[in-house]
């Protein structure tokens, strides 16, 4: 079942007097329980696309449909994890998770309980009253994840969520994200991740969407048919075949422009 449709999205930026086309007619859809990765060279507009899906930015033309309803502004059902975490330094881990719920008008005891619960899910028990300043990068991203999940989103958007972490931490966190995604009792249903790391994309996604550099266009799609959990398959030829396929498409996208 399709839950989100991206329909002919175009985006332009004005640079002084000239207009630059950033996204050119991008269309795709996301199904239930799907992990989709957007990969492309830097500056191809993949982060912009993610922001349009979240409702943070407006498309020049085209639209986003979530359960057949157009998305024009941020909604709690579509939540996001940021590259640099976006935590408030003046709030503790627990308060950071609670705050968006407070904005939504959740009762005090309820939000404290929910925040606690998600802190447990991201394995940060005992860090409730720690400030971001005293957390490591990986821990901060766990808080970021817990904050997004606490709103029970159907779709989780991730803007290069692991790219500011060291590889070992990133690996652990990828596992954690997938673990939470697989847990049927917990949100989210589907995830859209922006990445420039092809191997990461193949490791995480059901489908990898490849974009060309400016103007950003979809140049192809690779379905990843590797059984999960994929940890057992990362050394097998099937994994590398998929990686090669994505890289080949990226190269082709480069030549077109």
């Amino acid at each position: 079942m399709t839950i989100l449709v991206v329909e002919n999205v175009k985006k332009t930026f004005t640079n002084g007097k000239s207009e630059i086309l950033a996204l050119d007619n991008v269309s795709f859809s996301i199904g239930d329980n799907e992990v989709v990765c957007l990969v492309g060279p830097s500056g191809c507009g993949k982060s912009t696309l993610l922001r349009i899906i979240s409702g943070l930015e407006k498309a020049y033309s085209g639209r986003i449909l979530f359960h057949d309803q157009p998305v024009t502004h941020p909604i709690p059902q579509i939540s996001m994890v940021f590259q640099l975490f976006g935590l408030l330094p003046w709030k503790t881990a627990l308060e950071n998770i609670e705050l968006p719920m407070e904005v939504l008008g959740v009762k005090k005891e309820d939000r404290a309980r929910t925040a606690q619960e998600y802190l447990r899910r991201v394995q940060l028990e005992g860090f409730e009253n720690t400030y971001p300043h005293d957390l490591s990068g990986g821990m901060k991203q766990r808080v970021g994840l817990a904050r997004a999940l606490a709103l029970h989103p159907e779709i989780l958007l991730m803007d290069e969520p692991f790219s500011s972490l060291d590889e070992l931490t990133a690996k652990t966190l990828r596992e954690l994200f997938l673990y939470i995604w697989r847990d049927p009792s917990a949100p989210p249903n589907s995830m859209i991740m922006v990445s420039h790391n092809v191997e990461e994309a193949v490791y995480m996604a059901d489908r990898v969407l490849v974009m060309s550099s400016r103007p950003g266009k979809l140049v192809g799609e690779v379905k990843i048919d590797i059984p999960r959990p994929r940890q057992e398959h990362v050394r097998e030829p099937i994994y590398f075949e998929h990686v090669d396929k994505v890289i080949e498409m990226l190269e082709k996208g480069k030549k077109q422009t």
Partner: protein
């Protein structure tokens, strides 16, 4: 060109305004006075730039120089500039007319130089490590290193700092050109606009004349800002590796010039960076450095006393100082300090509230900013010290009681003086909220009041502290001037409201009691340093955690 024409017309109308014959004779000197004031400020500017660049680079690159210079200059600029004025001129007056001119320039220098020094210091220190390292790996050193790396890197800061110094110069001009020494007014031999304005309001009490002059001066300041500084700023910021210089500030207004703002205000690179420079400068001094600074300050005081009396201060001299007027007021010292502190506190709270309100609105609302920024632009062009006599004249007419008028003038002046620092800091800090935090706030639905209390205010708190330090610093400078009103007639004693600022003025201007002057300066310096150590530094350290790493 149009501006020049307006200037000429304004000048002509000031000269031909119907005045009493004596005042008219003085007003006829306007073109010459304008020329002498401008050249005075330009000369001081050149000296300040050369001094600031030289010592700034020295202090930033040489450890020993930094240990001696930085805390000492920090101390000098945090005690009220107007305070040590009489000490300097007492000595220089012995040199005749040139001495008077020199003392005006020295006073201007002490109000203009710090901006450039601290700007250069910060800019040299924030040259990116990779640039420094690559320069070293290519063997650039000595003069070539300075010529190819340091000077281009600091150029934008120097231009911005010089611009601030220029505004500062105009700000203090009225105090510098209307020198009172031992109860007498000593006019600079070549006159000046500040002198003319002071005459118009103190001596002639001619309100329309004073207002016209004030508008004339403001116009010159704003006109020069548009004409020269803007272009210079644009040119200086291209071709350097940190082109963001002053971008925030020029965003603040079309004329975009910061008012008499002290050093780091130059809007150097990023505001967070600016912030970190000040917090460092507050924290980094070791005990040795503080002791060095204190010793140097003592030496300076002794030299000043020595120059005054031409022999080292003896116990008898100090005793004499403490027994001659206005020593009789020393018994009321605690209440005088309390009164001055209350004025400063009231003005501080008013400017804090107004600046945060307007600053956040201006930074967050596009439409409101279209109204607030132009007001800011013109407001910061007005040399506020020059406003003092004009405002007093006006309020005195309204209330009829000079004391109430002076009290109100004093607090209004303080507010007008303090508010720009706060406003500028609030605006640039609000504009500097990282995109991700803004996106996060929007994504999770923070709007209106919730956005301000949860996101904006906590984020700008460190900048508010920085702004507060500046506000209090400039407040101390201003209150010395604002608690004391020179008389319009030599036979009438000057008007003053009780406070430690007016006590200082009496000691300096009225009685020429250097011993007492130094003593009161010491008290003020102690209060300033005490507040810095016990309030601001603690707050800065507390808010350090709020810094968002990008």
């Amino acid at each position: 060109m149009g501006g020049l024409a307006v200037l000429c017309v304004m000048g002509w109308s000031i000269m031909t305004m119907s005045l009493n014959p004596e005042a008219a004779a003085e007003a006829a000197n306007l073109p010459f006075y304008t020329f002498s004031t401008i050249s005075r400020i330009v000369i001081t500017l050149v000296i300040s730039v050369v001094w600031g660049v030289f010592f700034g680079i020295l202090a930033a690159t040489n450890k020993v120089a930094s240990m001696v210079l930085t805390p000492f200059i920090d101390l000098l600029q945090s005690i009220p500039i107007l305070g040590y004025f009489p000490m300097v001129i007492g000595f220089l007056f012995l040199l005749g007319p040139w001495g008077i001119e020199l003392s005006v320039i020295i006073l201007l220098f002490t109000s203009m130089a710090w901006a450039i020094f601290f700007g250069v210091l910060g800019a040299v220190k924030s040259i990116p490590t990779n640039v420094v390292e690559s320069a070293q790996s290519f063997g650039l050193s000595g003069w070539r290193y300075i010529r190819h790396i340091v000077l281009p890197a600091i150029a934008p800061t120097v231009v911005a700092g010089a611009n601030l110094a220029w505004c500062d110069g105009w700000f203090f001009m009225i105090a510098a050109e209307y020198i009172q020494y031992q109860g007498k007014v000593v006019p600079p031999p070549s006159g000046g606009l500040g002198y003319l304005l002071a005459r118009a309001s103190y001596f002639y009490g001619d309100m329309p004349f004073a207002i016209m002059l004030l508008v004339f001066i403001t116009f010159i300041v704003v006109y020069f800002n548009i004409l020269t500084w803007h272009k210079l700023m644009e040119r200086a910021s291209t071709g350097t590796f940190k082109p963001i210089i002053r971008m925030d500030l020029s965003g603040v207004g079309k004329i975009g010039v910061a008012r008499p703002v002290h050093w780091f205000h130059f809007g150097s690179i990023h505001w967070p960076k600016t912030f970190s420079i000040i917090s460092q400068s507050l924290r980094k001094y070791s005990r040795i450095e503080k002791v060095t600074a204190a010793i140097l300050a003592f030496v300076a005081v002794f030299i000043a006393l020595y120059l005054q009396s031409e022999h080292l201060p003896t116990l008898a001299m100090i005793q004499q100082g403490f027994s001659s007027p206005p020593a009789d007021e020393l018994s009321r010292l605690p209440s005088l300090i309390f009164l001055t502190m209350s004025r400063l506190t009231i003005a501080y709270i008013i400017s804090l509230v107004v600046a945060i309100g307007l600053g956040v609105l201006a930074a967050e609302h596009k439409r409101l900013s279209a109204i607030i920024y132009p007001i800011y632009d013109i407001g910061q062009g007005v040399p506020i010290l020059a406003l003092f006599p004009v405002m007093f004249l006006g309020l005195n007419k309204v209330f009829g009681t000079p004391e109430i008028a002076l009290e109100l003038t004093c607090i209004t002046m303080l507010v007008l003086d303090m508010i720009w620092y706060m406003f500028l800091n609030v605006v640039s800090a609000t504009k500097n909220i990282p995109t991700e935090i803004k996106e996060m706030a929007e994504l999770f639905g923070f709007k209106g009041f919730k956005r301000v209390t949860h996101i904006v205010i906590p984020f700008i708190l460190p900048s508010i502290v920085t702004g507060s330090i500046l506000s209090w610093g400039t407040g101390w400078n201003t209150i010395i001037f604002a608690e004391y009103m020179p008389s319009t007639d030599p036979s009438i004693p000057p008007l003053s409201i009780p406070g430690i600022g007016s006590l200082l003025d009496k000691a300096g201007y009225q009685y020429g009691n250097t011993v007492l002057l130094v003593f009161i300066l010491g008290i003020i310096a102690t209060i300033v340093l005490f507040m810095e150590g016990f309030i601001w530094r603690r707050l800065l350290r507390k808010f350090e955690k709020y810094h968002i790493e990008i």
